[in-house]
Structure formats: C-alpha cells, structure tokens
C-alpha cells in the first residue's frame, strides 16, 4: 500500500504520534501538571517549613525568687539564646501552672539562696522541670538548658577569675551537617519521596485513564505495538517528572539553603535512574488496576508510604527492628535517599553512589521485565 509507511518509519511515526498526543493531553489537563509541579512544591514547603527536628524558641519559665546580679546575668543568658523564649515568673506555683496549661515547655527555678550559695562557693542548685510528654523534645530542651548554663558558668569563671566548679564538658564535633540543621538532612530525602509520589502517580493515572475512557480499546486495535504504547507513555512523563525534580532541587538549594556538595551531573544521573523506577511502578500499577481511582490509591499506598516510612528519609533505618530493616531493602526510595543525602551533605562518595545506583538499576530492570510480562495488547 503506497499510502502506508512500514518498518522503522512506521514505528517512528507511531511513537511520535503517541508522544505528541501525551504532550497535548498534559498541556490541556491541569491534573498531570499539578502532580508534576504543584504537588512537589506543596510537599516541599510543608516539610521544609513545617517539619523540623530542631528545637527553637522553646517557651521557658524563669522563676527567680531573689533577683540579684548573678541571677540577672544567668537569665540574661537564657534571654539571649535563640533556643528559648523565656517568661519570668515570681514563684514556682505560677510557673507550674503555666507548664500544666502548655504555656511553657520547661521551668528553670533559681531559689532564693542561689546568689549567696554561688558566692560562697557552695553547691548552687538550679531546679529544672521539663514537660516530658514529647520525650524527644524534652531531651532536646534539657540539653539546651544545660548548654546555656554551662556557657554561662564558663563566662562567669573567666570574667571574674574565680574558680567555679565546672562540670566535665564534652567536646562535640559534628561532621557533614555542622550546624545540625535538620532541614539539610530532611530535604534531600524529601526529594526521593516527592519523586516516588509524582512518578508513580503520573503514569498510574494516565494509563488507567485510557482504560476508563475506553480509548485503550481503540488504541489497541491499531497496528501499534504494546512496547510502543509503553515507551510513548514513559518518555513524556519522564521529562515531566524530571522537570518536577529539577524544581525541587532548585528549591532545596536556593530556598532552603541546603548545600550541594556532590556534582550536579551525578545527581541528575541517579535521579533519572530513580525516576525510571518510579514511573515503572506507576505503569505496573495502572496495567493491573485499570481505574484511575484504584490506581491512585494503590500508587499512594504501595509507593509513597514505604518511601516515607522505610526509606530512612525521616526514620533512621539502623534503629529499626531487624525484620523491618530487611523489608527496607525492597523499597527503591531507600537507595535513592542514601544517594541524595550523600550527594548533598558529603559529596561524590563513589562507592556509596555506585552501590546504591546499581540497586536502582536492578530494580528498574525488574519492573520493566514485569511490565513486559504483564502488558498484553488484549482486553482480558
């Protein structure tokens, strides 16, 4: 037939047609653009600003029973600290009431003998009460109070040349995240979670949509090959997903000031690998689910939740029970979180990057084989 092309040209034409059609649909249907760009933005802002494992501006009650020069200098130290927002109370009862009603998270209590005991070189005790409902927060608060107190003590002894009893202090040295900003640690991991969600949702929804609207049936009766349908779906959403990924990386770098110590190209390469895994998961889900609603639900439950809980993005894997640790090996995001945290905070540590990248490559191959096996150009 002279009006019909064949062989390689036909394949090329069909692929081009599929990709062009997907682009038109992406441009006209705001939902896929929203998944690729708005969703990452919302998640990033939510986690970047909303979730922080650092304690700042902890409301603190200061009870000074007998104000004098010593107490004034100590309370001044608390007031100058970034970690606390102190409120003064004149007696312990009022402070305890404030603690009970959650107006403050801790109490520092300087009794009326504080000043004279200090001057006399006696043991000048400070009463510290901390709200222990949130154990993590309590430990942090306690540590910060101790820190302020020690610094003050040090300054006092230096300034007055007097020998004050200084407790043994630990010398801390924190690598990779010297400022101990939890954002620096959370946001790289968050990129993995966001990419899992957008990648899986994008493909899961668009293929299921074709089933739902009955266009898949018409598509399947054309001479198109099944792998052409799959590639035609993967390429546009890969580009879209990588666009979303670049947006999150840019936000991490310039909005949240997370340092990128590794190379950008390593980041791009490993992200591309992980995007393939995420799209593959979505594609597999949509082949099995065939309705947008089910595909969306399944995508969130089997990809987003494990990526969130078991990837080491927020909960440390090495402190999980052994059985759960074993399960985390099945979560692709785990390997990508490790890569991202390394690239952002440490640099191109090749053994680590390569090991995790090979894991991702293996997983993406498994997904592609599964898809090839499951996807048939038939309706049953």
């Amino acid at each position: 037939m002279s009006c019909q092309v064949s062989g390689f040209h036909a394949t090329h034409m069909r692929l081009r047609g599929m990709i062009r059609k997907e682009w038109l649909q992406i441009l006209r249907d705001p939902s896929s653009l929203a998944i690729a760009f708005i969703l990452p933005l919302v998640l990033l802002l939510l986690f970047g600003y909303g979730v922080s494992l650092d304690a700042r501006h902890i409301p603190l009650a200061l009870v000074v029973e007998q104000p004098d020069a010593q107490t004034a200098s100590l309370t001044g130290a608390f007031e100058r600290s970034d970690y606390f927002t102190p409120t003064r109370f004149s007696n312990i009862q009022a402070a305890q009431l404030a603690l009970k009603t959650h107006q403050v998270d801790g109490i520092v209590w300087l009794r009326n003998n504080f000043g004279c005991c200090l001057l006399a070189g006696d043991n000048a005790a400070i009463g510290v009460i901390v709200n222990g409902v949130n154990a993590n927060q309590a430990r942090i608060t306690e540590g910060y109070i101790q820190g302020v107190w020690q610094t003050w003590l040090q300054n006092q002894s230096n300034a007055e040349g007097r020998d004050l009893p200084i407790p043994v202090t630990l010398e801390h040295r924190i690598w990779f995240n010297p400022a101990m900003r939890s954002q620096d640690f959370l946001i790289p991991g968050l990129i993995a979670v966001i990419m899992t969600l957008t990648g899986a949702l994008l493909t899961a929804m668009v293929v299921a949509r074709e089933w739902e609207r009955g266009t898949m049936e018409a598509l399947m009766v054309t001479p198109i090959r099944i792998w052409e349908i799959l590639i035609g779906k993967l390429i546009p959403y890969f580009v879209l997903g990588m666009g979303g990924m670049l947006l999150t990386v840019a936000m991490a770098r310039w909005q949240f000031d997370v340092p990128l110590r590794g190379s950008f190209w390593t980041l791009l390469g490993s992200s591309a690998l992980f995007m393939l895994v995420a799209l593959g998961m979505g594609l597999l889900i949509s082949i099995l689910a065939k309705s947008q609603f089910v595909a969306g639900q399944v995508a969130i439950i089997v990809t987003f939740l494990p990526a969130f809980l078991l990837s080491g993005f927020i909960f440390d894997i090495s402190s999980m029970p052994t059985a759960v640790q074993a399960i985390t090996h099945l979560v692709p995001a785990r390997y990508f979180v490790a890569i991202l945290q390394t690239l952002f905070l440490a640099g191109d540590i090749w053994p680590l990057v390569l090991a995790n990248s090979s894991a991702l490559l293996l997983i993406s191959l498994i997904f592609l084989v599964l898809i090839k096996y499951k996807a048939r150009k038939r309706l049953d």
Partner: protein
Amino acid sequence: MHWLHPLAVMSEVEKQVPEEHALSLREVSRTFYSGGHKITALDKVDLTIPFGKVTGLIGPDGAGKTTLMRLAAGLLLPDAGRIQVLCIDAVANPLAVQSVVGYMPQRFGLYEDLTVQENLDFYADLHGVTEKSRPDRYRELLHMTGLGPFTSRLAGRLSGGMKQKLGLACTLVSPPRLLILDEPTAGVDPVSRRELWSIVDNLVKAEGMSVLLSTAYLDEAERCAEAILLHEGKIVAQGAPADFSETMRGRVFLASQETGNKRHLQSLLTFTPGVLDALIDGERIRLIMESPDTPVPQLDGSTIEPAPPRFEDAFIAALKGKPQAGRPLAPAIQHQSTSCAEDDLVITIENVARKFGDFYAVRDISFSVRRGEIFGLLGANGAGKSTTFRMLCGLLPVSAGRLSVAGHDLRHAAARARGRIGYMAQRFSLYSNLTVLQNLHFFASTYGLRNHHRQERIRWALDAFELAPYGQSNSGEMPLGFKQRLAFACALMHEPDILFLDEPTSGVDPLARREFWQRTNTLANAGVTVLITTHFMDEANYCDRLVIMADGGILTQGTPKEIKTPFCTPEAPEPNMEETFIALIEGREQTP
C-alpha cells in the same frame, strides 16, 4: 438463509475455510469468569461474513456481540476455535489483523481533550498514513462526516452524533478492508443515525469495504445485506433480512377495535393460546402467531387481519419464549386505596416553570394524570423532561406554578406520602459493586420493610423479575437489560401506587423493552399510576396519554391518536409517531 438447529448436519466441505470471506469463525468458544460464575459468552460459533457487504450482528444484551467483535479484532483470545480475518489468523497474528481492520468500540475511542484534527492526526500516525496522502484523505473524511467546520473543536465538545462520526472517521484514516462497528448508533439522535447509515452504505458501494456492525435497533437490521442473529452465545440464524421476514409470512396480524383501551386488548391477546407476541403498533395490536397453522383468535368488537411481516417479527419469534400461563409476568400489587374512580386525578401540574439563572428549563406547563394511567413525557434531550420529573419527585423546587402528587407537594410531604411513590432514576442508580441480593436488601430496608415482610418481597422480586439465578452476581457486571429489571424491582419493593420511571428503556434491547412494557401494563391495569419519560417514538403509542415537550414547553398533549390525527394526509393516512414528532418540530420552527 439457513436456520441452524442443533441437529442440522453440516458437510465437511462446508466446514473448510473458503477464502472469499471477510471474516470466518470456526467452532469459536469464549468464557469469562465473574464473581465465581462461569459465563459462556460464545459457544462453538461458526460464522462467515461476505466481502463487500454490510453484515448486521443482532441480538439482545449479553448475547455475545461485543465479545465476537473483540475476538475478530484480535483484542481477545478464544478458548477454542479458529478465527480468520481476511485470511489472516487472528489468534496467531493479531497485529497483522489490526493493520487491515478498522474497529470502532462502543464508546468511539476518542480523546476528548484533543481537537477533531488532533484526533485524526493521532490515528493517522498510528496507522502509518504517509504525510503526503494525508491532506486528501482528511478532506475526504471531513467532507463525508460534515466535520469540516469543526476541525479545531475539542472532541469532548461535540454532540453525540458528531462524536460518533469523528470516531468513524478515525477508524477510516487508513481505509480498512474490514470495518467493525460496535453499536455505532446506540444513543444517537435519529438524524445522525440516518447520516451514519448513508456513510456506511457509501463506503461499501464506493470502496468495496466489508462491514460488520452490531445494533440494538431492529429497523436497522433491514438495512443490512445480511443479518446474523446471536442469542446466548449461539448463532440462531443468518441470512438476508427479507428472508427472515419471509419465514414469518402468514403468522403476523393486526388487531384493531372500535372502542375501548388498546392496552386491555393487548393483554387479553397476550394470554390467548396460540399467540406468541402481542405488541401495540400505532393504534392497533400486532400479533405474532406460534405457527402459520394456528387459528387466529376471534374476539368480539375487534377485527383481525393479516399484515406484511417485518424483520422484527422474526427476531421476536426466534428469541421469545411464551410466558407460561398461570404465572403472570408482572408483579401483583396490593393496594392501599381501592377507590379507583376513573377521573381521580393523582398528579396535577398547573403553570409550572423552572428557571436556572436566566434560562427557562421548563416554562408554563400544565397537565394532569389520572389513577391507573400510563402517562408519557416525550422529547429530545434537553426538552425539559428530566427537570419536570425532578420537580414532581420533590428533588427540585418550582420557580412558579403549583404541582401536587397524590394531594401533596413532595418537597414538603411526609415520609408516608413519599412511601407511596416508586422512583426509577435514569441509568438505574444501582450499587454496581453490590450483588443483586444485596441491592434488593438495601432498597427494601430504605423503604422500612422488615423481617418477614422484607424476605417475602425479596423472594417476590427474584421470582417476578427472573433474577434468582443472578442473586450473587455483582449488579455492575450484568447486561443493561438485567440492570433495568433489578432497578425496576427495587423501585417496586414497597408496593408503591405511583411510579416515576425516567428513561427506563434507554439503551435496552427490544426483548427487554417488551418485557418491561408488559410489566408496566400489568401494573397500570392493577391501578398503579405510571409517569414515564422516553425518547423511543414507538413507545409513545404504549402510553394512554402523553405530552410532547420541546425547549421546556409543551408542544401538544393528548392520546397518541389525538396527537397523530392532525398530521394525517391523503398520502400518509397513518403517520407514525416519529413522523408526527418531526412534523411538530418543523411546524414550530416555521411559526416562531
């Protein structure tokens, strides 16, 4: 034309695959599993369709039409048997089949967020149509479908008829040798149906294309060169439509009476021994006798004369089992009130209007419905039928005017008044992931039926609507005709004496429609008032009285005869309802 009987012996010569067939199936079987049940969609089907002709696949819902077409398109694998499409084995080489076949699924397969042109381009890419030959082909297709002025319109914004024509154009971008169309005319307006048929006829004549199409409209079967009758996964008969009609010669009669209710005459005739089927046909009753030798029934006050047979008669005769005497098809209804004065007005509407913003969906309509009457609301989509219905059911407030149902305005009526109403919504509103039994239980409980009473009504529903074998099937997986029965059963669980039925027969096959009307008639004869909307013109004749609506107003109202009489002409002494309807619409357009 040959009738296939289980005992008919086919010679080995006939069984060989001749090469001059566009499609041939040999001993093809296909089963599905649904909810643990095995459903046989096709059972050892043997079939050939000729080149260069339109072959119609006709059969009730669930007969296996769509399965057969999907098998032919290589979309499904048969459990057993051979399928040859244009001499290509569809099982072994589906891709080769798909490059020579054009297939339009029931939902047209259009991308609604792409424009007409983009849809065409997409399918041209998939079919490998060269860039050079595209402009000519597009021009041809756009001219043929009349879509030329709309190339930049999104497919989702086209009317139903235009979507259907675009769907057809997309399957034709690379001219297929075999065109398979799955119910292309379902739910499309009469004008578009006519246009689609002229396109198909032209393709066959000009390009020698072979066409296989399925349809639920029996009048369309007569336009096919050959018709295949499929029932419960088996081929019942195949042949020219005229041959089908010919087998009915001597078995078809028209009964008429001077006075009295034609519905009464119909039910009387239905249960007369020897009568296979009795259907209201215009102002008379069309009778199909069990055999040409059966004596014609003699009834006082009515005349019965022979009539020329139609394809529909053969279809009904082939598929219909005689309802057993003693077990009435329709349910028994016990009445709360037995005062059945004929002029007892149950529903009255006075000068009712309904506005949405500036737009009048319904304007100044008045009519009333008597007890035990079947009252029809007829009109095209958007005429205001559904709005009127919703106001009557109390789902929408009126903007002006007064209405009452059984003496109440249902918007403010007590639960007791609502308990007298049965409502069957458009598209049946069943819970598709609940089984038949679960649906019945649910609807029975919403009407407050308890324990023993509920059990009894559910048993009644399963029995009267022949749903017992499907008790455990998910209602979403049943054919439309069964869904309709189930929805009807659910609306009748609490024995209402007023029934609102919104498009109950839409998309349902002729057999199921017949059964539905038989049940409705029996209900009306028992004193139940029925208000029904429909867009099937022939169904208007089944109503005692009706209104025809257009653009929110009433064009005319009365009995079917009163409505048709003004349009009698010497050339057409007996206009049918469709002709009357078109004449009414045209008349209105001429006098603004």
